[in-house]
């Protein structure tokens, strides 16, 4: 990275400690968490419709007792999903949709020396309402990049009944080259794909609120349903789920392929709530995963305070429920039945997850580690809210071009065969 990075901004941290912005944390803490499910409850959900609403979200409201709930989790912006998603992945408010700075997966993978199949990013579809979602699993950063990225799977490109392609072709077509899968990892993933296809284990369980009969909602359900399966087979460090279909609350703002509104958003809240509950229950039923797995869930933004006259619920700057959402964190290192009403920041999750899973800092992120959620035995310092207009690292556009060229070449290849969704 050529230009000046800002962190650490002050004096070098003492030996055995990490400086992250205004905070000083112990290096390599003794955390019990080995695996993390990170759910970006994405494209906008209000806390009043989920964690504050036992009628709509009985599973998640019950889970609050199992962990820590942040109730005033702030995002500076409340629109443009492609950018907010990248902020969730990098801990920086970005000027681009594709990450310029390392993602949480890259930080943890590089700092722990883990392999490509230790990190998964799952999404129902690649492209929806003007935003591209399957480009978030690695950055173009010269010191990180695709070589320490995550294995990304798009459900509706892979898991469906008519898909007769063999797993080797699917692997070659749908998973970027350059992620560094070893031959054994490739073989394991191909065998796993074949097994999932043969057993049809990609079909999500039924829910009391039936899934809306559209592919995006189905893709969300598939992604949540795949998490325990991936955890059991690969024992990965992080599985990220990008939920997408909640944005159907206002999906025909210029995208008039079908009619959607608040009513369908609530239906999807109810269905995904049950799927999240079942996903976590399956993890808890596994004697190994139960004691080693954490769940962190946050929407990248909320939604408006009021429903518009067309019965739709947008997400606009200036609405309390659009800017302020929640984070729920459950796991062996987090406090139970703990509610944090202190204001925290969307950019915090990357340094928090990096610290949790590697004991190290996310040096380019401008968020802070949410120490409120960690058990007292870890003796972490008080959280400091990062300043909104804080300095960001400069961007070196010239450095990471090789990774970019490789990615572009892959996409050209993909387009020349069955197409690619951006």
């Amino acid at each position: 990275m050529g230009a000046a990075a800002v962190w650490p901004r002050k004096a070098t941290a003492e030996r055995g400690t990490l400086r992250m912005g205004e905070m000083l944390l112990p290096e390599a803490p003794d955390f019990k968490t080995k695996h993390l499910i990170f759910v970006i409850y994405g494209n906008g959900a209000r806390k009043k419709d989920v964690v504050d609403n036992p009628e709509y979200a009985p599973y998640q409201t019950k889970l609050i007792r199992e962990g820590t709930l942040f109730t005033e989790d702030y995002g500076d912006t409340a629109n443009l999903h492609g950018y907010m998603y990248t902020e969730m992945f990098t801990g920086i408010d970005p000027p681009t949709q594709r990450p310029l700075f390392p993602t949480l997966n890259e930080y943890v993978r590089k700092k722990t020396g883990a392999k490509a199949s230790d990190f998964w990013v799952l999404q129902g579809a690649s492209y929806y309402r003007g935003w591209t979602f399957d480009v978030k699993h690695f950055s173009r950063h010269a010191d990180y990049g695709i070589g320490v990225g995550a294995t990304s799977l798009t459900m509706n490109k892979l898991f469906y009944e008519e898909n007769a392609a063999n797993p080797r072709d699917l692997f070659d077509l749908l998973i970027e080259k350059g992620l560094g899968h070893t031959p054994k990892e490739r073989k394991d993933i191909m065998e796993w794909i074949a097994d999932v296809m043969a057993r049809r284990s990609y079909i999500p369980p039924s829910t009391r609120e039936p899934l809306i009969d559209r592919e995006l909602q189905y893709g969300d359900a598939q992604a949540l349903h795949m998490v325990p399966q991936i955890l059991k087979v690969f024992k990965p460090k992080i599985v990220t789920v990008q939920v997408l279909a909640l944005d159907d609350a206002h999906a025909d703002f210029g995208y008039w392929d079908y009619n959607t509104d608040y009513w369908e958003y609530i239906k999807h809240v109810k269905a995904t709530d049950e799927l999240i509950g079942k996903m976590w229950a399956e993890v808890q039923a596994d004697p190994y995963l139960r004691d080693t797995t954490a769940l962190i869930l946050r929407p990248e933004c909320g939604r408006d305070d009021e429903i518009n006259i067309y019965g739709q619920l947008g997400h606009s700057p200036g609405n309390y429920y659009a800017h302020y959402v929640w984070t729920m964190a459950i796991g062996p290192d987090f406090k139970k039945n703990h509610v944090v009403k202190e204001k925290v920041q969307r950019r915090d999750l990357v340094p928090t997850i990096t610290y949790l899973m590697s004991g190290q800092s996310a040096e380019h992120s401008v968020g802070h580690v949410r120490t409120q959620m960690f058990k007292d035995e870890h003796r972490l310092p008080p959280y400091v809210l990062p300043f909104t207009a804080d300095m960001k690292p400069g961007i070196d556009w010239e450095g990471p071009q090789e990774e970019r060229r490789r990615a572009e070449a892959f996409k050209r290849f993909a387009r020349s065969t069955v197409g690619y969704g951006d």
């Binding site: 005033e72 500076d76 950018y83 920086i92 970005p94 000027p95 681009t96 949709q97 594709r98 579809a125 492209y127 929806y128 003007g130 591209t132 509706n156 490109k157 009944e161 008519e162 049809r200 079909i203 999500p204 369980p205 039924s206 899934l211 009969d213 559209r214 592919e215 995006l216 025909d252 210029g254 008039w256 392929d257 079908y258 009619n259 509104d261 305070d305 009021e306 006259i309 067309y310 019965g311 700057p317 200036g318 309390y320 800017h323 204001k343 909104t388 207009a389 300095m391 960001k392 961007i395 556009w397 010239e398 071009q401 970019r404 060229r405 572009e408 387009r415 069955v418 197409g419 969704g421």
Partner: protein, 472 residues
């Protein structure tokens, strides 16, 4: 084909475990072929719109996913579309002012290819590389068509005099034509917006000593009218703000009713003689509930376009702001939305350019119907139109004709560029004078299900030719 599909669905249902989702959404087969505009164009190009020697490129794009999760320009289904569905395509983009100072003008040119030759003016958004989307770090360039060449667009924008220095990269541009085709182009996904090395095109802003990235702060709120009567007496209140560099210039407040069912947005006006002082003045509508109304939010914006939001849920100044007691006769409180009693279209078939009337019979128990607005959609959703209904009294010189506030109607027609086939009234929203509203959806509410009109192609024969008023 159909039988095999049914058989495969039956096989899936039979083979799936009981706990599985019974039904999987339909999937569009791989490999649909599109033209360069990303659209399957069943009716062929609009050749009459092309200049001599100008041709549309051969089809080469394939669609791997169902239509609804692709870009709008890739919305196709397994069925052939009719009409012309091409979107304007941004083919060139060049920034003419690579280095500017704060407050300077940025110029750019763009080339847009449109089958219809009528691309509308558009805006390209730039973000500061370093500060991303903060107010003064966001920059807009407005593009207008050249008088001599309608495909050439000249862009101009002015950098805020409070903008931070550094690189400003183009983020996206959303371009529409006047038949309603719209496409958004993002720098990282559309080559003309990128440099040769595929980094977004940019301009530089010199270092600026007057940079302002901090939004104003709210210092105090005063409410001058502690109690009022709904519908008659105004509420007057004042907000006081401070700002470090450019100074606060705009404010907006939101008031909320005791039951939290009604919000009122109030534009506050800057009292220029007293910097930082904003005055708000409004009246609670006569149909709204009484009780203790309170400030829910104040937004403050400075001259650098940095905006801060203050919410009563977590801001001490707003939380402690005085409430206003609103006196109201409970019999006047209208919380019930109006309803639709009947709705219909005037015809089951029409040709391009022919008017179709939508008529709705509505009712409201108290304040009266204020607005009815519908939405008609083409068979595959590639075209849609809003239809705003009205209840105009037409004096027909008949004593029996009186105003009919419960009958609302409007006409609509499709253009030749739009998709033919069965158009559906998919949505009808209705609101009363108290802003209570309800939206009816095709398929969800019986009263709005199956309200359709078949728009015929030029060569299609009518099933029932109209004879009413026809001259022979």
């Amino acid at each position: 084909m159909l039988l095999s599909r049914i058989a495969s669905i039956l096989a899936l249902v039979a083979a799936s475990p009981l706990w599985a989702q019974e039904k999987k959404p339909e999937r569009v087969p791989f490999g649909r072929t599109l033209n360069e505009y990303g659209v399957l164009n069943a009716s062929g190009c609009m050749c009459e719109d092309l200049e001599d020697g100008e041709v549309l490129p051969p089809p080469e794009i394939t669609v791997p996913e169902p239509f609804q999760y692709l870009r709008p320009d890739l919305q196709i289904t397994a069925a052939e579309l009719t009409g012309d569905q091409r979107y304007p395509v941004l083919t060139e983009f060049k920034i003419l002012t690579p280095e500017v100072g704060a407050g300077d003008e940025v110029r750019a040119i763009a080339r847009v290819t449109s089958a219809y030759k009528n691309t509308l003016p558009f805006v390209a958004t730039f973000f500061s590389e370093r500060y991303s989307r903060l107010g003064s770090a966001t920059m807009y360039v407005n593009f207008e068509p050249s008088k001599d060449d309608k495909s050439l667009f000249l862009g101009r924008g002015r950098v805020s005099k409070f903008a931070p220095g550094g690189r400003y990269i183009v983020a996206y541009a959303t371009i529409s034509d006047d038949v309603g085709k719209r496409q958004s182009y993002g720098a990282e996904f559309h080559e003309p917006l990128d440099n040769e090395d595929r980094t977004p095109k940019f301009f530089m802003v010199e270092d600026n000593p007057r940079v302002d990235l901090r939004a104003p702060e709210l210092r105090a709120v005063e409410v001058e009218t502690p109690s009022v009567r709904a519908g008659t007496e105004p509420i007057r209140f004042t907000a006081f703000a401070i700002d470090d560099v450019s100074g606060p210039v705009d404010a907006e407040a939101v008031w909320i009713s005791p039951g939290e069912e009604k919000w009122i947005r109030v534009t506050m006006v800057h009292q220029g003689s007293e910097p930082g002082k904003f005055l708000g003045y409004f009246t609670i509508p006569k149909w709204y509930e009484g009780g203790e109304w309170r400030l829910m939010r104040i937004a403050l914006t400075d001259d650098a376009r940095n905006t801060a939001y203050f919410f009563s849920k977590n801001d001490a100044v707003l939380r402690n702001a005085p409430v206003v007691h609103v006196a109201q006769d409970p019999a006047l409180v209208d919380k019930k939305p109006p309803s639709i009693l009947a709705v219909s279209l005037s015809s089951t078939e029409a040709r391009v350019g022919e008017l179709v009337t939508v008529t709705a019979l509505v009712e409201d128990d108290l304040s009266g119907v204020k607005a009815v607005e519908g939405y008609v959609r083409s068979p595959h959703g590639v075209d849609a139109m809003k239809v705003k209904l009205s209840s105009d009294f037409v004096d027909l010189n008949r004593p029996s004709k009186i105003p009919e506030p419960n009958v609302w109607s409007a006409t609509f027609k499709i253009k030749k560029s739009m998709e033919r086939g069965l158009w559906t009234l998919v949505r009808l929203g209705i609101a009363d004078e108290a802003n209570n509203f309800h939206t009816y959806f095709d398929g969800r509410e019986k009263i709005l299900t199956g309200i359709t009109v078949n728009f015929l192609g030029e060569d299609d024969a009518r099933e029932t030719e109209s004879t009413r008023g026809e001259r022979r």
